[in-house]
Structures are given as C-alpha cells and as structure tokens.
C-alpha cells in the first residue's frame, strides 16, 4: 500500500483521566472506522498487554491506524496513539504526544476535569497540539454536561460550544468526533522529498524479530531495504519491513512524512534504537536530529531479589528484556546481607514498581522479593563529598554526615471544595508546604503544595482519594532537594540488623514509625521454633520492640503407610510455599515483611 497524501493524514492521541472512558472511546473509533470487525472486538483492543486488560489501565503507548471515509468520500488515514492515564506514566504520555498534531481531550460528564488531565493538557498545549474536547458518558443519569462544558472553558480555555457530547458506551456522537478530528486537527507537515527523519517514540522487543521500532516519520520516506542510521547511537541497519497497526501488524510499502508505523530491522540490541532517537538514511543523512525526549527519571527505588539465589542471572536477563520496552526502568546490581544478590531498581512510582514485579514474575517465571521503596536522598559528608543514597542501608554513618537533603515535589491537587479541609490536613501531616489555592468553576479547587517525595510515594494517593470520597486527583513533578532532619531507622530481627528493612525517616516521625513498623512485622512474621524479638533502632538506641512468641505445639499423632505420601506432599508444598521466605540468621521472614512499610496504618 503506498503512503497516503500527507494532507489526508491525522495523528492524534486521547488525553483522559483514568476511568473517564478513553479506552472505550478508542474501541468505538476502531469499530466505527471498520478497523476491527465488531465480532473480533475483545473489550478494549488497544490495551494489548494481559496486565493492562486485567487492570483496565494503559501502560505502554500503542499506535493504531484507522481509515476513515469522510461523508464526501475522501479517505483519511487517522493514527491514534494511545496514552497511559496514571501519574506514574506521565513520561510515556509526552512521548506519545510528540508524535501527534492533536489530541482528543476526554472529560467524564459526571466527574469533570482532574488534575492529571490538566497536566497532560498543559503538555499538549506546550507541544502546540490542537485539542478536540469531548464530554463522555452523557448517557449516565449523573451526567452534567453543561457544568463540565463551562469548566472546560474556564479552566482550559477551550470554547464551551466546541465540546462534543459523546457516549462511548452507546456510540452516540462518535461520528462527530471523527469529523472533528479531520476538520480541526491539522494535517502533519513535512517534506517527503527531504532526507529521512523519523522519531522513535516507542519500541518493543520481539523474541523472533528483534526490536520493533515505533516511529513517526517527520520528513522523507522509509521503505524496506533502506539502510538507516540511528543518529544518536550511530548504528546502521537495513530495514526488513515497515508497516502499521490495525491493530495487528500490517506490512506496507512505505511510511512517508506524516505517517506513523513500525519498522523491523533485525535490531538485537535495544540500546541501538533508543526511544527519542532520530532515524535517518545512511546514504543521505539529515543535517540535524529531531528534538528528542527528556529521559524519564525514576522517582522511587526498591531492591528486587530472586528468592532462589541461583536465579540471579535470570533476573538480570529479565530486567534487560523488560527495559527494552520500558525505558523508564533502571537497575543496578546491589547486595544485601539479608537477601543476597539482587538489583536496585528505579521506578516512576509504585504502580510502575508493581507492574514491573508482576511482569517479571509472570513473563519470566521468577519468584521475587521486593524491598520497601525509597526515594533518593542527597547526602553531603563532612569532607564535602556529595552522594546520592537510594538505598537506606547505604546511608553513611551519621557522624560523617554534614547534611541530608530530600527530594520535594510541586504538586497540584484538584478537589471539590467540600473536601478542601481534609486534603490540607493530609498535606500538613505529610510535611507539606502550602503554596497556592485557586477556586475554579463548578465548586472545584486547585491546591498547590510542596511535599517531600518520600512522604507521598505510598499511601498518599489512597488517602487523597479516601479523604475526598474519590473526587480528588493529583499530579506532581520533582521540584528541588532540600535539607531535612532525617535519620536512619534500622530493624533488628532476633538481634540481627536486617539491612533490607532499614528506612530513612524524618526525625520527628521516626519513633512512631518504628513502633508501627515493628508492630506490623510482628503480625507478618509467623511464629517460629523460638521466640523472636523485633526491634527498631535509631543509631544505637532501641526505640521500639515487639516479640513473636515461639510456636507451642506442632506435631501429628500418627504417621503410617498412606500418611507418608501425604506428609511428604505437604512438605513439598510447604517448601514451595516457603519460597517467598528468606532466612535471616535463624529467622524465616516472609516476603510481605520486606514491604511491611506499605501496609502500615498512617498514625
């Protein structure tokens, strides 16, 4: 299939808050344009990872080509680049947006604009994208389209009358969306005769075909047989195949300026085709590369260890594989006295961490122990050295520390006015610094707070939701490092310090934190053959102590012929069940204990 004339191409994303109906809308567009036969529609086609479908979230950006027959008979090529909605994956959103000229902004008619939506709207406007506002779920009894329309005008500044009213569920208004995409979003520009410049906006590793590179061609043409050079990595490959997604991979003759698709070129090393790099022709290179992306920076670090030590090389390979299509994941080898050899991994947030662990276990058949997540502290020692500490166990001796600085974020919280008090209280509890408050249309308030990242990586979002009956939304970005009174809290189990349980906490909260943590550990560590003391210590000082009493009785009265098989099977099962136990000294600590901090009640 030859390339479409550039004026008949439209590239767009959908910006939406979680649950506002983005995937349903995408499905409906696919269906209406005949890209997927109705009978083949698995719910939410674009979320192709099992995990995504199970959880109803989008993790990876996806790109799919729709062919839209306008009422006047003209065929348009529409490239829909799907974006994730969770705050952890904001980075993937900017990548997707950079490949587009426009975006459909979806707002739930029953909910209104959320902080996350707003953040993505700003990103889109920064990139000069045209927005097509769509108010979804108008079929619901609780829908208030007029109120939401007014909010879109007052908060975002898009004319209220431009908002399209849609029900993605029933299919109402979908044709108007397609018409608006064609009419309002500009066609891409780019000289198809110029030397090739194509932006890599994503990649995926396929065991048979190597790295599949997702590209947006900006200038020139990309064909099978073309010899290409990656402008940053300076590696050269010959293109085996180009094509697009419908949503299954569909080979085509060429991708020309303005078009979106994939290429396969027997690329075995993912580092050779980095997301954000520019592809050009080897024989006729472009003068300059395209503006790439800001590398996603991990916000949260945790140790990942194989339960069976001999699977360490497998874990390394799995992480390398995963990194191929999860550029935001970082990892470095580390060792723990308690857990052995593993990796300190950097994540965008806790959801990202959870998804990585789940994928490692599911796709690579590993059994893992993950330690409590931490942020990265900047430590200046007395001799003037500055070190970044992303593992509390590595905090230098307090005597040698001049100052510890913690990362702080600038956050935006969008909340109905009635819950304002609750959320300000929450932010104060988390050592937040009030910056600004802005009243907005529809009884909503935009709240800006400076918060220590370490205080919000876990439980903050849940608290935010529960203290606002689910109405609040959050966006944040890293702002600065600032000195704080921080101390290292160690946990001793049966007198042995367990490095993987150490944490860096604010001095004023340390004792209470220690008490809650040992109490939680007492619940998580099962009774053993002997009594086990669990202590929390700051420096050499014990600040909390709990005891797990010893088992009292564990003996079966009988063991004859058939009992032996039964007993062995039980032992084998227990051995397997024990897999997530780590023995530290003579105590068996279950996997959950290393994440105990995540299940603490905030006191």
């Amino acid at each position: 299939m030859p390339a479409s004339p550039i004026e008949r191409v439209r590239n767009f994303s959908i910006i939406a808050h979680i649950d506002h109906g983005k995937s349903t809308l995408a499905d409906r567009l696919l269906e209406r344009t005949g890209s997927v036969a109705a009978r083949d529609m698995a719910e939410q086609v674009l979320d192709s990872m099992d995990l995504e479908r199970e959880r109803g979230i989008t993790i990876k950006a996806q790109a799919v080509r729709l062919v839209h027959q306008a009422p006047d008979g003209t065929a348009y090529q529409l490239n829909l680049i799907d974006t994730p909605g969770h705050v952890d994956f904001a980075y993937e959103v900017s990548r997707a947006l950079a490949a587009c000229e426009g975006a459909i902004l979806v707002v739930d008619a029953t909910q209104g604009i959320e902080a996350q939506t707003l953040a993505n709207v700003y990103k889109a406007l920064d990139l000069g994208l045209t927005l097509v506002p769509v108010i979804n779920k108008i079929d619901l009894p609780a829908a208030e389209p007029e109120r939401v329309r007014a909010a879109i005008e007052s908060v975002i500044g898009l004319p209220a009358e431009d908002c399209l009213l849609v029900s993605a569920r029933t299919g109402d208004g979908i044709d108007a969306v397609l018409a608006a995409v064609v009419a309002q979003i500009p066609a891409p520009r780019g000289d198809r005769a110029a030397p090739l410049r194509a932006l890599i906006f994503d990649s995926k590793y396929d065991a048979y075909r190597g790295v599949m590179v997702y590209v947006r061609v900006m200038e020139g043409r990309l064909r099978a047989g073309t010899s290409i050079t990656m402008m940053a990595s300076r590696r050269t490959f010959t293109v085996d195949e180009v094509g697009f997604f419908r949503p299954q991979m569909t080979p085509t003759d060429e991708l020309a300026a303005g078009e979106v698709g994939y290429l396969v070129a027997a690329i075995r090393d993912v580092r050779a085709a980095r997301v954000g790099d520019t592809i050009t022709e080897a024989d006729r290179p472009a003068a300059a590369a395209l503006a790439g992306y800001r590398q996603a920076t991990p916000m949260v670090w945790a140790g990942i260890y194989p339960v069976e030590g001999d699977r360490y090389p497998d874990l390394r390979e799995a992480l390398e594989r995963l990194q191929l299509n999860d550029a935001a994941l970082t990892f470095e080898p580390e060792t723990s006295v308690a857990l052995g050899f593993g990796f300190r991994c950097g994540f965008l947030g806790l959801l990202h961490l959870d998804i990585v662990q789940e994928r490692l276990e599911r796709e690579f058949d590993l059994t893992l122990i993950t330690t409590a997540p931490s942020v990265a502290y900047r430590v200046t020692t007395r001799d003037g050295e500055v070190v970044i500490v992303d593992n509390p166990a590595h905090l230098p001796d307090p005597a040698a520390v001049e100052v510890i600085e913690e990362p702080r974020v600038r956050s935006e919280i969008m909340v109905p006015r009635e819950f304002l008090g609750n959320l300000m209280e929450l932010c104060q509890e988390r050592r937040g610094e009030f910056i600004h408050l802005e009243h907005q249309a529809g009884e909503r308030v935009l709240l800006r707070y400076d918060l220590p990242l370490g205080e919000i990586i876990h439980d903050f979002y849940d608290q935010l939701k529960s203290r606002s009956r689910g109405y609040a939304s959050l966006d944040y970005e890293l702002h600065e490092y600032r000195a704080a009174q921080l101390v290292k809290l160690d946990i001793l189990v049966a007198g042995t310090r367990v490095d993987a349980l150490s944490a860096i906490v604010h001095r004023e909260k340390a004792q209470a934190y220690g008490r809650r943590l040992v109490e939680r550990l007492r619940q998580l560590i099962p009774r053993q053959l002997f009594e086990v003391a669990i202590q929390a210590a700051i420096g050499g000082r014990i600040v909390a102590r709990e005891t797990v009493p010893a088992l009292r009785k564990d003996v079966l009265a009988k063991c004859y012929g058939g009992d032996i098989t039964r007993k062995r099977k039980l032992l084998e099962k227990q051995r397997a069940g024990k897999q997530r136990m780590k023995r530290v000294g003579s105590v068996e600590i279950p996997q959950e204990a290393f994440m105990a901090v995540l299940s603490l009640d905030q006191g």
């Binding site: 053959l529 002997f530 003996v555 079966l556 012929g561 058939g562 032996i564 098989t565 062995r568």
Partner: protein, 398 residues
C-alpha cells in the same frame, strides 16, 4: 529394640493387608472402611488372596516375610477361617520367616478365647487391640461398640489364648473429657499388662464426623497445650511401668516394638493388598508389576503405590486385572530424603544426618534445645518433639 537394618534394596519383607469391614463407622475415623455385610467377607478375602498371588508372581523370587499386618477396618470381624486363608496364601506365595511378627488388629467386642486361639493357630503372633479408653462415657462418645469391662475381658482372653504379644491403643484429647479420664484409663490398662501401648491424640481428620462437629462448634477439642500435658504424662507413666517411648505415639516393653511399623518409619519396603492399602516398593519390582517407571531414571529408587479405596471399585479392579492398584508415584532421591527425615525424626532412635548442610542445621536446632546429636544422628528433645513438624521443615530446609 533391634538395630535399624539396612533395607534390602530388592526384596520387601513386610506385608500390609487391609480389611475394611467395620460394624459402624467411628466418628473420628478416616480409614477405608466398609460397614456391615458379613456376606461380602468371603469375596473380599478371595480378592486379597488373588492380589497376593499376582504380586508374588511379579516378585519372581519373593523374600520370606518378616512381618505381616492385618489392619483395618476391623480384621477381627473376619471369621478366623478367612484370616487363616489370607495368611496361608501369604505363606504359600511369599513364605513367612520363622519368628516373623504377624499382627491382627482387633476390636474388644470381637475377641473371644476361641477366636483368639484360632488366630494363633492361623499364625497370628501379635494382636493390636482397639481399647481407646476404659471410660464407658468416652467409649460411647467415640461411638465404640464395647465397654471398659469388655475391653479388659478381651485382654484376658488374648492372654489366655497365649497370643505372644499384645498391643493396646488409647486415645487422649477427647472433647469435653477431663484429663483424669485418660489417666485412669492408662493406669487400668497398665494393670492388665500389655506388651505394647499406642497413645494417640484424637485428631479431627478431614472429612470425618468429628471434624464437622468441631467446625460447627458442636464439640470443642482441648487446647493443644493441654494435649501436650497428657502426652508427657503418658510418656512418664509408661516409662515408670517399663514401656519406653520409641515413636511419638508408641511405647513398648524391651523387644516388643512393632517390627512392621518400624518399617514405615525407617523407609523399609512393604507390599500392600486390600482396598485403600499403600505399598512402598523398589522401583525394579514396581516395574515388573507394570508400573511405568522409566528404567534408566537414576534418581528414582522407589515407588509408592496405592489401591482403590472403595471396596466395590477395588473388587472390580482385582477381578479385571489381578491387582487393586489405583495409582502410584515414583519417589526420587530428594523425595526419599524428605520421607527419611520426616519419618526418622518421629523415632527416639532419631535420624542419621547425611549432608553437611543437615548437620549445620541440626547444630543450630540443637543450640535452640530442639535436637540432640550423637553418633551422627539427630533426636528430638522434648520441646523438639512438641514442634516435630516445624523442626522437620527446618531440618529439611537445609
């Protein structure tokens, strides 16, 4: 007690025969049991004998048996003629070594002097009597069809018939019964002077009426710690009476340990016939019986196999194939090691530590007062025995 003998790698010398017939099902029992139907005994015994012939053919040169155990169910419900028929077939097909232990499980209500004599004449050398308690209230609660008086009379009858060795079972931990009930039963039992005593904690097994009653809150089992107290009281009382504990729940006068049961705990081989019976055979023999253990699988030394549990299904299988077996599994070296340690730790003689890792772990456990070590063997201490399953798990984690 005889020294632990190295199992002959090729020739099982123990035989278990399951007799499922019972007058009624006891509320705590989870064995393969067939209630009623004396008319069926003959057919069942014929099947057992057919199975013995089938096994003996496969064994090529069977070794003479050193122990035979007729368990149940209630083997004493069979007419002595049928008992004699089973033992006769065993003798004819496998041979029974001189001095072999031939045990028959009996209910007190089935025992008469005449029957006891007939059993002895048939070759029975040991009777294991299901006394359970000498408290009539408890016996009624347990759904037993005998009284304390009958149990003591049965013991006298067995002695009168010159049964060479007598074992009695007692239960403790009966819901709602005071400790003194069990203690008085044991005292009275010891006056009657059995050679061997088994004291079992009553355990609500899955699928039993007792377990259902516990789940529904109708009966409340004693606190586990109270049961431990009963256990240690029994250990001391029996020791004072000359009975040494040799396994968690088993006690014997010197030389009166159950040779057959020791085979279970020492990883010995045994044939098994009858419904629901479990056998433990060398892989080479199992292969000859048609078990499809791959010949050059170096790790697999042993096969555990089991017969159909339902009597009708069992009879049909024997009728159709000559054997009642329903399933089997290969036991590789790792699994055999699990069994060896798990069973060995139940014995007072303890278990031989075979790897440096085991020795390291055992030393750690002994520092915590759970094991003692001597002569390369580990034995549980009192506290270690109370936590036997956890100690086993830990030692096996080595």
């Amino acid at each position: 007690m005889s020294a632990p003998a190295a199992p002959n790698p090729e020739r099982p010398r123990a035989l278990y025969v399951h007799i499922p017939f019972c007058e009624q099902r006891c509320p705590y029992c989870d064995f393969a049991v067939h209630v009623g139907g004396a008319a069926r005994h003959r057919g069942y015994v014929a099947a057992v004998r057919a199975e013995l012939r089938w096994l003996a053919r496969a064994a090529v040169v069977p070794a003479p048996l050193d122990s035979v155990y007729l368990g149940g169910g209630t083997p004493s419900r069979l007419s002595p003629r049928l008992v004699a028929a089973i033992l006769g077939t065993a003798r004819a097909r496998f041979g029974v070594a001189p001095g072999a232990e031939v045990t028959l499980e009996a209910n007190p209500s089935d025992v008469t002097t005449r029957r006891a004599r007939a059993w002895v004449a048939a070759g029975v050398t040991r009777v294991s009597l299901g006394v359970q308690s000498l408290d009539d209230g408890v016996l009624r609660q347990l759904g037993r069809n005998h009284t304390a008086v009958q149990a003591l009379a049965a013991i006298r009858a067995l002695r009168g018939a010159a049964v060479p060795s007598l074992s009695c079972d007692l239960l403790y931990g009966i819901p709602g019964r005071p400790a003194v009930s069990f203690q008085a039963s044991l005292d009275r039992l010891l006056e009657a002077g059995p050679d061997h005593v088994s004291c079992y904690e009553l355990t609500p097994e899955r699928g039993t009426r007792l377990q259902r009653q516990v789940t529904l809150g109708l009966v409340r089992p004693p606190h586990p710690v109270a049961n431990l107290a009963q256990h240690w009281w029994a250990v001391e009382r029996l020791a004072a009476g000359g009975y040494q504990q040799y396994e968690v729940s088993n006690f014997a006068r010197p030389g009166q340990e159950s040779r057959h049961n020791l085979q279970y705990w020492r990883q010995g081989w045994y044939w098994a016939v009858g419904s629901g019976a479990h056998g433990h055979l060398p892989a080479a023999i199992a292969r000859r019986l048609g078990v499809d253990v791959e010949a050059p699988e170096p790790g697999v030394r042993a096969v555990r196999w089991w017969n159909h549990r339902g009597t009708a299904r069992y009879l049909r299988a024997v009728d159709e194939t000559g054997s009642g077996w329903a399933g089997w599994e290969a036991v590789d070296a790792d699994q055999a090691e699990l069994e060896r340690v798990a069973c060995g730790l139940r014995l007072r003689e303890g278990v031989l530590l075979q790897t440096p890792a085991q020795r390291r772990m055992a030393r750690q456990l002994s520092r915590h007062g759970l094991l003692t070590m001597a002569g390369g063997r580990a034995r549980t201490t009192r506290r270690g025995e109370e936590l036997l399953e956890a100690v086993t798990r830990r030692l096996l984690a080595a």
